[in-house]
Amino acid sequence: MDFILNFLDVFLFFGLLVLGFSVGRWKERRHYKSIREREAKYANILAFAVRYPPDVVTPQDCQLVAGSVVISSDYFKQIVAGLRTLIGGKLSSYESLLDRARREATLRMKEQAQRFGATLVINVKVESTTVSGGTRRGLPAMEVIAYGTALKPRVSPTTQA
């Protein structure tokens, strides 16, 4: 009993590590699966980072569409990244995290574009911010926002498309 109490923090640490690794991994896989599915679903909605609209004659209706997500890393990734910073180099655990966030934000933007009835989003900008504030153990949480202008040809009696 004393042994357990003495090393409680060690057990807790490894417990969290294992929990973070297993659940975090499972959640990441599930998220990637859903991202891939939705990317296929919204493949018809095109998103471009071009600033100027394509040369079209028909008047277009446009609307700002945006998608955002706040994502946090799991305990395991946090520890691994912390160790990795000692020697520097590629932090692949965080790379996948931000990749997921960015794709998720883009997908949400496309979802909104579809609701508007558009199939084209231009001038897409992707931005990320830390929302953790570096409190306590410094929760590494990132907010990623993707926004752009959705264009759809205007349907009106004067312009016979």
């Binding site: 659940v23 609209p53 700002l64 569409v65 609701r115």
Partner: protein
Amino acid sequence: MANALLQDNIMVANLEIVPGRRVRSHLGMVQGSTVRAKHAGKDFLAGLKNIVGGELKSYTELMQEARDEATRRMVEQAKSIGANAVLNVRYSATSITVGAAEILAYGTAVVME
């Protein structure tokens, strides 16, 4: 957000040129901002969520609300000076202190044909 903006009859876009429509006059820059803080309880739950990682839904909602509010204020300002569109809209977010962030939306108010 989207529906509210459409009802206001104000077009919001982050384009400089809108295809097929001409800008009649520029009315200068409009902006809207809001500062939001995290709910302590939600923050605690998010801290727990941090063990397993993934999306922090409460934060996503918080930021979304803040962005809607900032956009609404920007649109309000644009309306008050007689614009019917806001072009070249940008969003920016900054954390002010621990647990509080400012969301800013700004753009150019114009009158379109």
